[in-house]
Structure formats: C-alpha cells, structure tokens
C-alpha cells in the first residue's frame, strides 16, 4: 500500500490505452470508447475495475480469445425485449451497443430490455447505467460471472457475485448511479485486510472448504459470501436467470473467468433494462420531484459527523472532479506493466 504512485492525466492515459486497443485490430471508435471507459472508472475511484485490468483485456484481444471486430447482431424478437449476440467482442463494446439498443426500445415502448449472449467482462456495470441516465432514462444493468460465492453452509461456489447497477437522472451535476455486487465484500477488501494484517468479519469470506473464517489469508484463498446471506444469494440466482438462462446463453459453471481461463471466450451474458421516466411525467415535474427526493436525502441529519449523507454516484462524482485535476494515481508496478504492454508492439507510453 505504501508503493509510490504516479499521477497520470486522464487524456494521456486514454490516448495510450486507445492505441493499445487499436493495435489489436479494434475499430477506432470501439477502441476509443473502451479506453475512455477504463479511464472513467478510475476517475470515479473504482480502481479495481479500471486501468488495472488493461493487461488482461489486451492480452485476450491479441491472442484472439476476445474478438476485436465483433459482428454484433440482434437475433431475438423485435418487440420490447430483444436478444443480442455479442460475437465474443470486448465487453465494453458489446455492453455499450446493448444499452444503446435498450434505450431505443424504451423510447418506442416506454420500457425495453436487451438480453446479451456471447460477451465478455464489461468492466464496471455503472458505466452502462450511466449511459441510460445521461439520456434521461432509468437504466438497470445486470451481468453474470462464473460462480465465486458459496451459500452459507456450502463447500463449493454455487453462484457468481453477479453485479447490478442502476442509473437514474438527477438533472443536477451528476446522475444517480448505484453499482453493487452480490458478495458482502469485494476480493480487493480482503486483500487489503491481508496486507494490513487485520482480521476480516466472518460474513465476508470462507476458507477453501467453505467454512467460516476471519483470517484474511484463508479468506482470500477461499470463496466470497453473499451480501445478506440468502438475500444476496437469491438475487445472484435471479441475475444469472436473466443474463444467462433466459437468453439461451451460458450460466453457472459454464461461464468462464478471464483470469482462470484467459484463452477462452468468457461466454458472459448481460441484461440491460431501460425505463423512460417521461412516460408518465413531464420533464419539469420529474426535475422537481427528483430535486425533492435527493434534497431530502442530503438534508437528513447525521449523528456521526465523519459521515456525510450522499446519494449513489455522488462520491464517484467528487472523486472524478478531484482526479480530473490531480491526475489518476497509478502504482509504479502498474505503470511498468502498461509500458511493457506498449513496448511489445512499439507503442510508447506518454507517461
């Protein structure tokens, strides 16, 4: 944790990542979007899903495990629910296309959804929820991942910590964006506790046999536990039902992990649901009501003066403003890794 950090200006970072993606054969626009998505995620402070992941994405594009030029197609019916085949494209590219199509459906039908098969890891789910919010829509984003959570009492992973994101307009400086996974804690938090030599709560993780542990070493080598026990587990099942089962795609153990199976398509599914809030209310009425809603949250009194009542997405907005000025902090080891990734193909890092 005490490793020196380099602060890199977002545009420099984006240009470099885009060049890396383009070199793999991705079209310019797709490469630009994917690069910006990673940078945006770091701007929000969600470092676990940002630039840190570049090496695995680029490696998979270079080997052809991920298709740099997917031929994405709507294969399902043409009513308010549609099916998209991602043709094994990078998750950012497929995710954006699916969300844009779901927004189109919501414009036509007031509500619309797109189920996606044959995609890959798409980074932070909040990226796509925000695409909807930026169009004054309510967006719900689901994706499935290979089982990494055990049920309480179980000895083997039974479901993924399948993320869920919800975006909604605020008509203010930043949209409402909730982005959560169905595990109690992220793997990164367990790693952090291990680095600090701290115990972890018993409801974060199990050892490799599924047994409760408060030892971060055992927990990191073991499995995640669902948030709220049966609540998070049940939601993770439902997300897999929508992303994988309903779509005719892969689910449960048929999914692949990009780290454990780097040479395989991940067979990831997504489900993008969009609701047009102007179906019932005028924009002016919505603006007023949303302002009341968020205002009530902000005005709610706190006994703990170290805590501030924020709405989902507010912390990310503040971090983005701050990092837009200071640059994005990258560890020396990540910087070295990125430089090497460029040098392999004759692209020089501008930092």
């Amino acid at each position: 944790m005490s490793e020196t950090q380099l602060f890199v200006k977002p545009p420099l970072l984006k240009t470099f990542l885009q060049a890396l993606f383009q070199q793999t054969g991705m079209p310019v626009d797709d490469a630009a979007y994917s690069a910006q998505a990673l940078v945006t995620t770091n701007l929000w402070g969600i470092d676990s899903h940002g630039v840190l992941r570049t090496p695995i994405y680029v490696q998979r594009l270079r080997t052809g495990a991920v298709n740099p030029r997917p031929n994405m197609r709507i294969t399902g019916n043409d009513r308010a629910l549609q099916l998209m085949d991602g043709d094994n494209g990078l998750g950012f590219v497929v995710g954006r296309a699916a969300m844009e199509q779901a927004i189109n459906l919501a414009r036509r039908f007031s509500i619309g959804a797109v189920g996606v098969v044959d995609s890959n890891h798409f980074g932070a789910a909040g990226l796509y929820a925000r695409l909807a919010a930026d169009q004054e829509m309510i967006g719900i984003v689901l994706t499935n991942v290979r089982p990494n959570m055990v049920a309480p009492g179980g000895s083997r992973p039974i479901s993924g910590n399948n993320p869920l994101a919800i975006g909604a307009p605020t008509y203010g400086e930043f949209p409402f964006v909730l982005d959560i996974s169905m595990s109690n804690a992220a793997g990164g938090k367990i790693l952090l506790a291990r680095q600090k030599g701290e115990k972890i709560p018993f409801d974060w993780a199990t050892d490799r046999h599924g047994r409760p542990t408060d030892d971060p070493h055992e927990g990191f080598a073991g499995f995640l536990l669902p948030v709220g026990g049966h609540k998070g587990l049940g939601l993770s099942y439902a997300i897999d039902l929508l992303c994988g089962l309903l779509t005719g795609g892969a689910f449960q153990h048929d999914l692949r992990s990009m780290y454990a199976q780097p040479d395989d398509p991940s067979l990831t599914g997504h489900f993008m649901l969009v609701i047009n809030p102007q179906a019932f209310l005028s924009k002016e009425a919505l603006r007023q009501r949303l302002s009341d809603f968020y205002g009530t949250i902000h005005a709610s009194p706190m006994w703990d003066r170290d805590q501030k009542m924020m709405i989902p997405g507010e912390l990310e907005h503040q971090t983005a403003v701050e990092r837009g000025r200071s640059g994005i902090p990258l560890s020396q080891s990540l910087v070295a890794e990125l430089r090497t990734l460029g040098q392999d193909v004759g692209i020089e890092a501008p930092f």
Copy 2:
C-alpha cells in the same frame, strides 16, 4: 413464544376471513382473493405477513381509510409501461390487478410493467411474483413503505425497507420465489431476540438516535439498518424511485404507515415488471435449462449437514405441504382477536 397454539384448517380460516372482508363492502371475488392471500402467506410460513394482519386491514376497511370497492383505472400510456390508479383499494386487490395487467403487457410486448399509485399495504410481495410464475412468466414486484431505515451514521429514517420479490417458473412442483426486504433483519426478529433475552448483531438496528446497538429493547424502539449498508440502502432508494417518484405517486416521508396512521390512506406505490421467458426459447428448451439450473443448486455439496441447499421458494413450498396437513398455527391471542373481530359484526368464527 410458549403461548399455546391452535391449528386451524386453511379452508375454515379462508371462509372466515372472506366473510369479514365481504362484510366491509368488498365484492365477493376481491374478498375471496384477499382472504386466500393471507392464508397462503401463513401456509408458506411467512406468519409476519399473514392472518396476523387481518385486524388492521379490516379496521381500515370498516372506517373507510381503505376503499372496499375501488374503481381501479389504467391512467398512463398504452405501451409496454402503464400506470394504474388503485383508488385507495386494499393492496391485495390492487396488487393482483396490476400484476395481471403486467402479465398481459408481457404477452403483447415480451416485457411489460405497471406502475401503481394510491394503493395500500399488499402483504407479502411474493404473492404477486408467484402470480407471474404461475403463468410461466418472470415477475419482479416492488413496493415502497414509509422510511423505517437509517443510513449508517444517520440519526433519522431516510428510506423504507422496500421489499422486492422475484418469481420464475421451474416447471416443477413449485416456482422460484425470492421475497426479501432491504433491511438486514425484520422487526420480528428483533422482537424475538428481546423475548429470548438475546443480544442482536450491531448491523441489525440502531437506537432511537440512530446509534449502533446490540440491545434488542433499544433496537426495537429504534430503526432498522439496511442489508449490506450502502447496497441495501441504494436499492431501497431505487425501489422508491420506481414505485413512488416515477409514477407521480407518494415517496419517502409522504407515504403513510397503516399502523402509525391507521385512518389515512397509505398512498403506497407498487411496480410490477414481467418478462416472458418464451420470447427467446421454446418451452421445452426452457424446461430443460431450468431443470439444469436448479439441479446444479440442489447437487451443490454442503459441509454443514444441518443446512440443505434449497432454491428460493422451496422452504415455503415444504411448509405449505406440512401446514396443509396439520393446519395453520395461530396463537391464542390472535384467535381471540379474530373472534372478536367477527363478533363485532355478527360473524362467528368456525374455530
């Protein structure tokens, strides 16, 4: 907890409740459905949302706080997202009508949703998710309640523990039904700890000032905490956005509680979303895939032999089979309360 219990046969109980509802002026069919909904909830073992609540529903119907003969109307647009005015009817009646309409929309558009304003407490959300599952649909049911949860660090309730239920077909003996609220623990569990003289975990509830407590007396007099901290809180905001804000209905503190404000319409909102899983797959393919999905869950190994891996809805199904034989256990005090409720209007309890 050691109070003697009477085991009442479900049909007897249903007949009696139906008579109570009809006497308030409800149409026969609505009274029959509402009575069966309460009995079904007890059959599932969800006693906190079943017959126990009869007195408050009947009282509110008698005083006119709830409208026994609502004129429910579709007031919104006629695309895949519609708005329903519940005309202050009993939540069971309005909830059923809204879900039936959402199922119709899903038949036409493959996905459909109905936002509902001006309803009341509708019992267990799982009732309506199950209506969808029984029609081979995937149903998502949301409702908003008056704020009863504090944010960690907050000193006053900021959002309700807004329930969410998801139903899906299994083509087996019982459907998948997940029914969860956004608080970490139900009020009933805190009450139980108080009766047993046990401490409660610090993440269940706060005292009346929003401060953490492990004392069940203080916790019961205080407020609930959200499941997974910001995760459950964020989901509860999103549910209120969909049920209350988007629909033009009441949200946050404008909602009423049927216990705290028994003479007021509760202004409850609902959001019923239905997806037709046969949009993409044949029934035969779905049946096979669902069987694989649930089979994988059932076959997952357990290290804890006291735990059995079940799918959401399975425990409720087993309890219903058992209580269908043994009868529904009601406490002596509840039986006395029900008898009095009948005697007030000349209806004799058949138990």
